[in-house]
């Protein structure tokens, strides 16, 4: 194998791969963050919302979780941006140019939001009701109960599920290669296509993804230990 092809400077393709990795991580982080915002709102809606909001949230999570990510990404990436531009045109604004990065973040965020809604809903349900009753008895308004009690108390229950979601997100960004967004997988394919060293480059990309997973695992374990300080260990 020709290892020099992985060099960082232009005759090698290492730089291109690393740039792809950075793009992938940016989209993953953005999409994950958006997914969490949707997840918090969605789980609050599912648990405390009226019957209408609850049913609408149920439809959102069911539909998104039942359709393949690839189909959703293609549908939202092409149809979603076109629909947004049509809408902007109808309202009277000039059409916006949505960058691939932004579209990717929106798409991944919408998909992750559905999964995160379910994770957070389960975590909130796992909080002992007495804690929330105690907060109410102290006279905390609902927003403060959410911020001071519910969100921190659900964290130890939510972190394993959210950790899984983060790992899924980093791998879901690879699907953006199909719609032509240059992240790690597509950069790898371009490099492999030019040099015809398919095996070398795809293995290299695999190592990079694996490194992301392993580093994330260490960080997530640390977070989990930190979030569950002072909690009784539930399982061995």
């Amino acid at each position: 194998m020709n290892w020099e092809l992985l060099a960082l400077s232009p005759p090698g393709w290492g730089g291109a791969l690393l740039r792809g990795l950075v793009t992938s991580l940016q989209v993953a982080a953005g999409g994950f963050a958006l997914g969490q915002v949707i997840g918090i709102l969605g789980s609050a809606g599912k648990l405390y919302g009226g019957p209408v909001i609850r049913d609408l949230m149920e439809i959102y999570t069911t539909v998104v979780r039942a359709i393949p990510e690839l189909v959703l990404i293609v549908l939202l990436y092409y149809a979603g941006t076109a629909a947004l531009n049509n809408l902007m045109g109808a309202v009277g604004f000039s059409s916006v140019d949505i960058s691939g990065m932004l579209a990717g973040i929106l798409v991944i965020g919408l998909v992750q939001g559905a999964y995160s809604t379910e994770v957070l809903r389960g975590a909130i349900l796992a909080i002992p009701p007495g804690q929330i009753e105690a907060a109410r008895a102290y006279g905390m308004p609902p927003a403060m109960v959410m911020r001071r009690i519910t969100l921190p108390a659900m964290l130890p229950h939510a972190i394993p599920g959210l950790a899984n979601l983060w790992l899924v997100t980093t791998k879901d960004t690879a699907l953006l290669a199909v719609v032509g967004f240059t992240e790690l997988t597509l950069a790898t394919r371009q490099a492999a296509g030019v040099t015809h060293e398919y095996f070398l480059f795809f293995s290299a990309a695999g190592v990079l993804y694996l490194a992301v997973t392993l580093v994330s695992n260490v960080a997530l374990q640390f977070l989990e230990r930190r979030a569950s300080r002072g909690m009784a260990r539930q399982r061995t």
């Binding site: 439809i59 039942a66 690839l70 394919r189 795809f202």
Partner: protein, 274 residues
């Protein structure tokens, strides 16, 4: 084995969803809006291509289902030993199994597919033994790589699940079986495996739905599955939304069928004494 001995009436049939639950005003409103959107879609969008491509769609659907079923079965058969060696196997077997699961779970399926199809596929022609073997005609097609990637992926995820399930079977049950004089193989097939599968079934169901949602990726290595057929339709009819919406609808139906089947399975599996 023991399945037939269980009387039929032990399972009460699941209660039907009450009609009154659907008749609440806001649900009727949501249904009316959905129906309105559906009618709007049917009237406003172009669907005249649908009859022309029905045959192609069915063929693609068939490929998707075949890929799903075969990769799930093969993957499960691979996952059982993968999980088992991690629980009881010698270290020399347990470590490769653990590394395999980590690699599969740590890299995107799209990358695995492309590595197998483009990477391995580009190495094979250089090896004369493979070119002369009977496998060669198959190795030049795309579907074996797709099937292999889906199988390995399912085995990797399900191997972890089976590891947990094997480890979770109470030790006393295995000791009791040994005390009855069962051999190792018999303990495994009669006690350990059924117990573990029973424990793993809900996760297995979820993992199979994920597997269904992974199948469209094989379209990127030129396997003509449901997704690829819809891609063809989009190119030849110059339509954007309609074929994709129809595709999403088909996958929704498939997921629904799969979930219902697994629910049925979970009810059928004996739960006596648990």
């Amino acid at each position: 084995m023991t399945d037939q001995q269980i009387p039929e009436d032990i399972e009460t049939p699941p209660p039907l969803p009450k009609l009154s639950a659907l008749m609440r005003p806001h649900r009727l409103a949501i249904m009316a809006v959905a129906l309105g959107l559906l009618i709007l879609m049917i009237v406003k969008m172009q669907w005249d291509w649908l009859p022309d491509y029905a045959g192609m769609l069915l063929a693609g659907l068939w490929i998707t289902i075949v890929l799903l079923v075969s990769s799930t079965i093969l993957g499960f058969l691979l996952a059982v030993p993968l999980g088992l060696v991690q629980v009881t196997g010698p270290k020399i077997l347990a470590w490769p199994a653990r590394i395999f699961c980590t690699i599969i779970r740590g890299t995107p399926l799209l990358l695995q597919l492309w590595l197998l199809y483009y990477g391995l596929g580009s190495l094979f022609p250089g090896i004369p033994e493979i070119r002369q073997s009977f496998l060669w005609p198959y190795l030049r097609e795309a579907w074996p790589y797709g099937l292999l990637a889906l199988t390995l992926s399912y085995a990797g995820y399900e191997g972890e699940v089976m590891r947990g399930a094997f480890a979770g079977v109470p030790h006393g049950e295995l000791e009791a079986a040994r005390a009855y004089g069962m051999g190792r193989w018999k303990v495994l097939t009669r006690i350990w495996l059924p117990r573990a599968v029973h424990r793993a079934l809900p996760t297995l169901a979820g993992e199979t739905v994920v597997q269904l949602k992974s199948t469209p990726l094989v379209a990127t290595i030129t396997v003509i599955d449901l997704y690829a057929v819809v891609g063809d339709i989009r190119q030849s009819t110059y339509l954007t939304y309609e074929p994709l919406l129809f595709l999403a609808f088909l996958y929704l139906c498939l997921t629904g069928i799969l979930v219902t089947t697994f629910r049925h399975f979970e009810k059928k599996i004996p739960t006596r004494g648990m």
